[in-house]
Point group: C2
Chain length 331, copies 2
């Protein structure tokens, strides 16, 4: 397996060093312990937003640090939770005196390590609230989780909560907005081919030439079932139906439709999935009023995609539309 | 080989249908013949910009249609030049009465078909200028070209010429700016694994588990040489040195450094390449004042990357910084 890396043990550090140089206007990267924060430091009087998790999902989370979104991000080793000693200084760096919201994907390691760091931060006088993202409808419990996993819906939580913080909402309000996103966002993904973790050097799982894994997680952990390779239209239905059913979408609902690439699937194919997902939603009487298509919450070079639907109301839509200036998302 | 497609023969049409739905605020897509133009139509009094080429390089070119960049894009079949009957209506759609600049990557088929279309457009009264992009330093002639190929540098030509047109420059001035970008931009790429053309169904070339192709084109056509797989630092030197030498970069030069993913390489690895390329430029006394890292000029799901350097002056830098609002590039 070939990668554009040096020593696999340095994969995250080397990548972050390049990221810091490329985006010095937006971020600063601390190397020991490793975390990413805004170039200008915390914004005084604004609620700070911190997220983090294993690396390998780029641009999540570091690519979302900047005005209108995150104040700090904590990258762990590849597919490995960041440690409390990384998370604590990131929380402190995000604190502008109005408290900090930690946005945590629901993986056992992430949850435990954020909990520990939050306790330490609170002991040092920082007010911290936590929101768990658990948008993946594929499985109830999984290899790394109790309850549902947090996947691509995390982007929507970070964007919308970031906009709420940006317009001056207090910690309770920002937290409530984030929770409302969590309550209204669902995702499901599919893998066509497995990723390769750098220090492992072989595919994370075996998938036959004629089969795909439906309901895959973003670490290559098992999904709902393996099925024979199928057309984009068929695969999209396998993803969209459970998402729409779980959300209880009905005629008249208005949504954000986000088709996310897992890293190794061409953008052109993501638009094929988008087109089919949109038609399926419209057949249910649902209006797609906002869209996002691209590789945002990836699994290294895994081939595949996920479909995320967020039920919108006027406030969530306005917060989604609010300006954002980060390395990976800007408008 | 598995893809998120329906009938491979419909790959481009299905993808464009989804693209049109996702970005209806930015673009409209004509289906017969196939071309993409701005949602609002041509901007009266502004020089129009048209580009195009084979599909499979998304988001190039359709993803760059919008304010500050292209007015129309013409996607051919995968890795196949668009036909004159597609290009002609795209030129007409881009014409706001101030003439049209056609930005053409230097591939024989593209050049011939654009020439034919331009003649037809001129016969109908549209003033058209053409700029050929030939930034790939890897090979002089190749499978599909006389002279050098046009690759990722095309993005810089489209962005900067688009900004010049946006600020009201006339056709001669926009053309001269585009030519100045062409004169100052160079690229070179590497493949770690081959892409698969949908209707072909097998990898475009064979590459051993322990070798990479240096100087690859964006259609998987041969490069300079196959070498044993090497570290990111070593590979980056193989790409950066010929680019910098060909540009004749010297101490005091200021550049845009653009590390482009070929579609199947994780973003995290592109930042490793970026970091090394930047250090190599700085060792030459060159200042990197602008940066771009991401999958913009791809070759389906090919694993690999290219390094593009554009020598900047104050005007080119200001035009690069000017606002752009497209599906794939916005600031």
């Amino acid at each position: 397996v070939k990668k554009l890396l040096n020593d696999p043990a340095d994969a995250v550090a080397d990548s972050l060093a390049g990221f810091a140089l490329a985006h010095a206007d937006l971020v600063q990267v601390s190397s020991s312990p490793v975390f990413v924060s805004r170039a200008g430091g915390a914004v005084t009087g604004k609620v700070g937003l911190v997220s983090g998790g294993g690396s390998g999902h780029e641009p999540l989370h570091a690519g979302f640090v900047g005005a209108g979104m995150l104040d700090a991000a904590v990258p762990g080793a590849v597919f490995t939770s960041p440690t409390p000693d990384q998370i604590l200084p990131a929380v402190q760096a995000a604190d502008g005196g109005a408290g900090v919201l930690a946005i945590v994907k629901n993986y056992t390691g992430d949850v435990l390590n954020f909990e520990t760091a939050v306790e330490l931060a609170e002991a040092e006088g920082v007010e911290v609230a936590t929101v768990l993202v658990n948008d993946d409808v594929a499985v109830e419990d999984s290899l790394y989780t109790a309850g549902r996993r947090g996947v691509a819906g995390t982007l929507a939580v970070e964007k919308i909560a970031g906009a709420a913080a940006d317009r001056g909402a207090d910690l309770g309000t920002v937290t409530a907005v984030a929770q409302r996103v969590v309550a209204n966002v669902r995702s499901m993904g599919v893998a066509l081919a497995a990723p390769v973790v750098p220090h492992v050097g072989r595919p994370s799982f075996d998938l036959g030439d004629d089969e795909i894994e439906v309901g895959i997680g973003i670490h290559g952990e098992p999904g709902r079932r393996r099925v024979p390779a199928a057309s984009a239209d068929e695969v999209t239905e396998m993803l969209l139906a459970p998402v729409a059913d779980d959300l209880g979408l009905t005629g008249g609902d208005r949504v954000l439709l986000f088709v996310n690439g897992m890293g190794g699937t061409p953008l052109s194919e993501l638009y094929v999935v988008y087109g089919r997902a949109r038609r399926l939603l419209e057949e249910r009487g649902v209006t797609v009023s906002r869209s996002l298509v691209g590789n945002y919450v990836t699994s290294l070079e895994m081939q595949g995609a996920s479909v995320t639907v967020l039920r919108l109301d006027d406030e969530l839509e306005a917060l989604w539309d609010a300006p954002v200036t980060t390395a990976a998302l800007r408008w």
